[in-house]
Subunit: 395 residues, 2 copies
C-alpha cells in the first residue's frame, strides 16, 4: 500500500472520531490555488471545479470536469470518478442524496490555515449548488478532522520525516566544517543551497528564505531575506533550515559562536543565554505528553526563559511539521488572539512538533529549534538536540 492509499484509509477511519458522515473537498484550478489538504495526495490535480468525497461507509467518490477525470482515475484513490461537462451541480447533488449524510465536513477554519482550503467564492458556490436540498444546513467545519489527519503521522510518513531530518542534520554538519569568520550571509546561503542540490532534495519552505540566517547582532531578525551581515569573531550565527524529502519536511535551528583569537570557549554571557534557551526547550520536552493543551507546553518554556532573565519570545514555542514546515493544526501556541483557538487544542500521540525559541543579544540571535515525536507517555527527539554552542575557530 502506498503512502497515498495509507493516508486516505486513515481519513476514512478518522471520520468516525469526529462524527462526520462525509468529508467534502471542493477545489478548482489547483495549480493556481489548491486546498492545503491536497498536499496529502499529490496526484489530485484538477483544472475545473471538482469534488472529492470521502464517506464514513468507506466510499470515495470524485466528481471532476471531463478531461480531468482520467488522471484522478489513474491515481486509484477514488472510484467512481464521475466526469461532467457543463456543471458539477447535478452530480454533486445526486451523490450527496445517495449518501444522505447528516454531517458534511468542509475545509474552513478561522484559526488554522491548513484546514481552511475552501475559498469564500467556492463557499458561496456550494451554498448555491445545495440550495434546494437538505444538505446546505448540514455543512460543518472539518477543522478538527483535518488537523488530526495531518497531525497523526502514518508509519510511511514518519519514515519520510526521519529521512528529511537526517539529511538536514548532515547539511548542518557540513556547514559547521566549512564555516569561518568573515563570510557573508549570501555565501553561507549559497553553500547550503549547493549542499541541498548535491543531495537531490527540496527546500522545506521557499528557497529565497531557506536557510534563514542571522549573522551577528545587526542582521534583521525574523522571516527576512539574506542581509549584508557577515560572520565575525566574538559573534554568533543562527541558521533556521529544513529540507523536504518525498514531500515531507524538517525544520531546525542551530547556533554557532565564532571564537576570538585566544578564546577557547564562548564568553560567559553567550553560554548563559545558550543554556537558558536549551534549558527552556528541554523543560518543554520533559513536560509534553498526549492530552496536554498546546498553550501549557508553551507556558513551560516561556516561564523558563523569563525566569532565566531574558525576554519572552514573540512567537509560539512550536508547530506541527509534515507536508509543510508549518503544518497547521495543534501546536504549542500561547493564548494570543492571533492564534485563535489553536492554543487550546490537545497534543496527541504520533504528532511531530518543533520546540523553538531564542534570545536577541549583543552577540547575535541565539536560538534553537528541535523536533519531537509525541509518544504514548511523553516524547522523543527526531534528531539529537543541540546541547552546546558549536564553536568556530578564529582561522
Amino acid at each position: 500500500m502506498d503512502i497515498y492509499q495509507e493516508k486516505i484509509e486513515q481519513a476514512v477511519a478518522l471520520l468516525d472520531d469526529f462524527d462526520l458522515d462525509v468529508w467534502l473537498i471542493l477545489v478548482r484550478e489547483t495549480a493556481e490555488h489548491s486546498d492545503p489538504v491536497l498536499k496529502l495526495w499529490e496526484p489530485l490535480r484538477v483544472v475545473w471545479p471538482a469534488a472529492f468525497i470521502v464517506a464514513r461507509g468507506g466510499q470515495r467518490i470524485a466528481i471532476t470536469g471531463h478531461g480531468d477525470d482520467e488522471a484522478i482515475r489513474t491515481s486509484g484513490l477514488f472510484d467512481p470518478v464521475i466526469p461532467y461537462t457543463h456543471s458539477i451541480r447535478r452530480d454533486l447533488v445526486r451523490v450527496l442524496t445517495e449518501l444522505d449524510p447528516k454531517t458534511i465536513g468542509v475545509n474552513y477554519s478561522q484559526d488554522d490555515v491548513s484546514a481552511d482550503g475552501l475559498t469564500y467564492g467556492m463557499w458561496l458556490n456550494l451554498q448555491d449548488y445545495l440550495k434546494d436540498t437538505p444538505y446546505r444546513d448540514r455543512l460543518v467545519s472539518a477543522q478538527q478532522f483535518v488537523e488530526a489527519l495531518r497531525g497523526r503521522k502514518t508509519p510511511q510518513e514518519l519514515d519520510c520525516m526521519r529521512q528529511a531530518i537526517r539529511i538536514s542534520m548532515e547539511i548542518f554538519e557540513a556547514t559547521t566544517e566549512w564555516l569561518r569568520p568573515g563570510l557573508s550571509e549570501r555565501e553561507i546561503y549559497d553553500f547550503v543551497h549547493q549542499q541541498v542540490r548535491m543531495r537531490g532534495v527540496d527546500f522545506a519552505w521557499p528557497a529565497s528564505g531557506c536557510p534563514n540566517l542571522n549573522a551577528g547582532p545587526d542582521s534583521p531578525w525574523g522571516h527576512a531575506t539574506v542581509s549584508e551581515a557577515r560572520t565575525a569573531q566574538g559573534q554568533t550565527l543562527n541558521m533556521d533550515f529544513g529540507v523536504r524529502v518525498d514531500g515531507y519536511c524538517s525544520d531546525n535551528q542551530r547556533v554557532w559562536y565564532f571564537l576570538r583569537e585566544g578564546e577557547t570557549k564562548a564568553p560567559p554571557e553567550v553560554t548563559r543565554i545558550f543554556e537558558a534557551v536549551a534549558g527552556a526547550i528541554q523543560a518543554a520536552a520533559d513536560f509534553v505528553r498526549p492530552g496536554v493543551q498546546g498553550w501549557e507546553v508553551d507556558a513551560v518554556a516561556r516561564r523558563y526563559i523569563v525566569e532565566a532573565g531574558y525576554p519572552e519570545y514573540p512567537h509560539a514555542l512550536g508547530h506541527s511539521v509534515g507536508r509543510h514546515a508549518h503544518d497547521g493544526g495543534v501546536g504549542f501556541y500561547p493564548r494570543w488572539e492571533r492564534y485563535g483557538q489553536k492554543p487550546y487544542g490537545r497534543i496527541y500521540e504520533g504528532g511531530v512538533f518543533t520546540l523553538e525559541l531564542g534570545v536577541r543579544s549583543e552577540f547575535g540571535y541565539i536560538g534553537l529549534e528541535e523536533e519531537i515525536l509525541v509518544t504514548a507517555n511523553g516524547c522523543e527527539w527526531m534528531a539529537p538536540p543541540q546541547q552546546e554552542l558549536i564553536l568556530v575557530p578564529p582561522r
Copy 2:
C-alpha cells in the same frame, strides 16, 4: 522601476476605474496557502496574518506579524509596514478608520479562481475584526479589478511573456528535429524536460503534466499523466506545453503527423481535420477585438468546427495567460454553468489569451493552441501559429 513597482502603481491607478477606495489583501502563512494575486509580487510572503492595503489616494500600507515585517519593508512595495505581536485587529481597524473608504475590495469570486484568494475562514475573521465598525458593510468583491490588474499586461510583463514563448517555440522545434516513430510518451516527456533544464527555465504548470502528450488514438485525452502510448507511423502526436520565464508563462499546442513508408504527406482526412482546427482558430483571431464578450469569440470557433463536420470541443476556446498558464479573468468561455459569469466579460487591449481546440480522431488527437495579444483594433500572434501539419519521416 522594477516589475513589482510597475505593477503596484498600475493597481493604484486601476482603483478609480472600478470605483474602489481600498483594495485589501488578507492572507496568512502564504507558503501553505497564498492568495493567487500575490504571484504578482513575489516578495510578499508572510507567516502570520497580514493585510496589504492599496488605497485610491496612493497609500500602500502593510500590517504584518512582528518577524514578517522586515522582509516586506525590504521589498519597498509598502510604506509604512506596521508590525503587530498579539493581533492584527487593532492596527487594521485603525488604518481603515484613517482611510475611511466607502468601498473596500476583497478577493472573492464565485467565477474566477484567480480573484478568489480569500478563504472562508479568513472572511469570517474579517467580519469579526470589523464587527463594530462601519467597514464591514463596505466590503465588496474585487473580482473585476483583480481581473483587469492581472489581465492588462505592463510593458515589462509583455517582455517576459515574449521571452517565454520564444523559448517554448525553440523547444517545440528541437522536439521536431528529434522525433521519430516508436517513441514512448515517457521518452518524449524526458526529452522535453531535458530541453527545459538545459535552458534554465521553469515549467508553466506542474512538471508531472508538462508537457501533456497524446500519441495516437489510444492515449487518454485531457489533463492526464504520461500514458503507455507510443508514436507510430500513420498516427499523430499532440503536445501541450509551456515554460515560465521570470515568473511569466507560455502555453501552446503543436501537432505532428508520422508518415508511413512511401507517404509524402498526411492522409486527406488528417489534413482536413488539421485545416478545420487551424481555420477555427484563425476565424476567432480575425474576430477578436477589444470590447467583444468572451463567449462571442468562442462561438465563432465553435460554429466553424461544427460546420466543418466535427464535434464541439468540451472546453473553452481560450484563457488569459500570465503569471499562471490559466491566468483567470476574462477569456473565451462558452455560456456553460461551470464558467459562471466569465463568458460575459469583455475583452480588453493588452490582454494575452490562448486560442485552443482540437478533434479526437482515429489517427490521434489533432489540436492546436496559439497565443494572441489583443491590440487596439484586433490582435497579433505572440508567436507564428502552426499553419501546416509537421511531418515526421518514417525513419
